[in-house]
Symmetry: C2
Subunit: 350 residues, 2 copies
């Protein structure tokens, strides 16, 4: 039987599990999510930057239409993504890839499915400009921000040593600082890693064992259970074109290197149970199906229903405490604020 | 000179104003926004209902696309509306009228520009179903809510005496309860009403006097400075078709009564300075222009630039403390949750 929910521990199997040993092995491969943001390269997570970043994150006036904010596709209430196959952007256009969660994203070694941004500061500049997302320009975004005394003051407080603090780069820095605070600590799995032996059910412990022994952990390890390296999607067997569309060649599009064809960053699996649908194409809605597909495509294994069930139970244990975010009161527009831009369909697409 | 910002009190004019008298007159016509929600007809503002309503308000899964929530058009950070001429809904369709603010909306005698919903409970059912807004059906919304244990529990807590609490009606009741808490008290004007004589600048006091003496107060009075009665837009002189499109006949569409042609509910003016653009058509971005247009169309008066400037200064004093809302962590979807629906353009519009 496949189940989407954790089931009670199967007491009969409890004897099989040596918690001390399992916790030790797991601690070699994983780390718990910290409760405090990490230090950032070239950026300081000050309260003023976080506060400014929170305002920017929720401000739809960073988009050409004034209708789309970061939170539109990375919703604070839905695990940090939008639970869409691919996101809806400017003019109701669909983006090419599934929106990844922003929660714990600061721990990924690179951002985007193809790793084309080295960190969240670089990443933040992408969607604001992407034609199918927020469709704005850096110049217009900066003009918008400079038009509002509330933002001028907030940038001044966040970057107190700069003469002209309202810049596109500083916008990205503030967004990075805010996102560095979006952590989901204290998942059952993390509590288990820290020695709380009854934080996981017996089934989840078995799932954890199998997650390590079948080889999932080869790509999905570290603090984010993934998000660290690049691997071909379809290492053993290429999935169908519905899940792996042949025109999206993944990291090849960044490196132009033949060996990077259909290579993607291993998905970070933190909060995976609440961030469906799965894979860069967003075509698989069930975590059971996603695990089964990974078994075949990456490990060359037809996992049994019971194995899938237990691995899914483990994956449900990596959902942490969701961040509590107060909705920011945004600065008032002024007569200098650029007006929203109407979506104009390209003539060729009419 | 026209200005969009409050200016310092003009000390030379201070002598002209008898605060005690002005406060007394103003208290005959207006009431301050209370800090606590009012009692509702047939609904109880319990913490459980407010909490459920807050979840529903932010949940995009109430829309067919799973991309639009109440907050998309009534944003907590933008004065309770979207600062758009008319809102962008399902499939990037534009709604027919400007989205009104939800802040203090509980004090309006009826909801929508044409008053077609008697209260926020009735109102809440509209946008969820409107084809150009959330484009959902009551049956699908209820199926969606029932698919998530988190919602079943929250509805049970909010409606503890009901056997089958997850209903479309109760969804609307919870949304009404949450919105009843979205109040903006303690504006400078309200503090003045309560006797704090230096809460308004001299210019704002003059603006208040003129707001009353020129006749604005005839339609814009009470706790919401409007939102109470129905009046023809263009009582004296019909505005141009850009501001008053001739195919939107206002309350006539509700009552089918000839005298209701181009009749609208007088806009509530609370927080008006931060909820541009103005009028049901959303075509006027500047508050100065809106006041000038009202003078001509409703009062038959060409207001001077100084008069407009002072009335605008007064209107800027009715922006209250914005509600502080914590973003809710939403219940997880399950395999029973209906998937998002793709927008299908009507063949005739392709």
């Amino acid at each position: 039987m496949m189940s989407g929910h954790p089931v009670a521990a199967q007491d009969g199997d409890m004897a099989e599990i040596d918690d001390a040993q399992l916790i030790e092995r797991a601690n070699d491969l994983f780390d718990p999510i910290p409760t405090e943001p990490p230090e950032l390269d070239g950026n300081k997570v000050t309260p003023e930057r976080v506060q400014l970043g929170r305002m920017l994150f929720f401000d739809p006036r960073l988009s050409a239409s004034h209708a789309i904010s970061c939170n539109s596709c990375h919703q604070m209430g839905l695990g940090g993504d939008d639970n869409q196959p691919t996101s809806i952007g400017h003019g109701w256009q669909r983006g090419p890839r599934n929106a990844p969660t922003v929660f714990n994203a600061v721990f990924n070694t690179a951002q985007f499915w193809d790793g084309r941004a080295e960190d969240l500061e670089q990443q933040a500049k992408g969607p604001v400009q992407a034609g199918v997302e927020m469709a704005n320009t850096p110049a217009r975004a900066v003009k918008t921000l400079k038009s509002m005394p509330g933002y001028v003051e907030a940038f001044g407080a966040a970057f107190p040593e700069e003469e002209d603090p309202v810049t596109f780069d500083n916008m990205a820095k503030a967004l990075e600082a805010f996102q560095a605070t979006l952590l989901t600590p204290n998942s059952p799995f993390d509590r288990y890693l820290k020695g709380e032996t009854d934080a996981l059910t017996a089934k989840q412990k078995q799932g954890l064992q199998e997650f390590m022994s079948t080889g999932c952990v080869g790509c999905h390890n570290g603090v984010n259970i993934g998000g660290q390296g690049y691997y071909p999607f379809g290492l053993i067997e290429k999935p169908g074109a519905d899940v792996l569309p042949r025109d999206d060649r993944g990291r090849f599009q960044v490196t132009k290197t033949a060996s990077d064809e259909y290579v993607f960053r291993a998905a970070p699996l933190r909060n995976i149970a609440i961030t469906q649908p799965y894979f860069h194409s967003g075509k698989v809605w069930s975590l059971e199906n996603a695990v089964a597909l990974m078994g075949v495509s990456q490990l060359g294994q037809e996992l049994s229903e019971d194995e899938i069930d237990r691995i899914v139970a483990f994956l449900q244990s990596v959902t942490g405490e969701q961040p509590r975010v107060e909705y920011p009161v945004l600065p008032e527009s002024t007569s200098e604020t650029p007006l929203p831009v109407e979506y104009e369909q390209e003539p060729s697409k009419r």
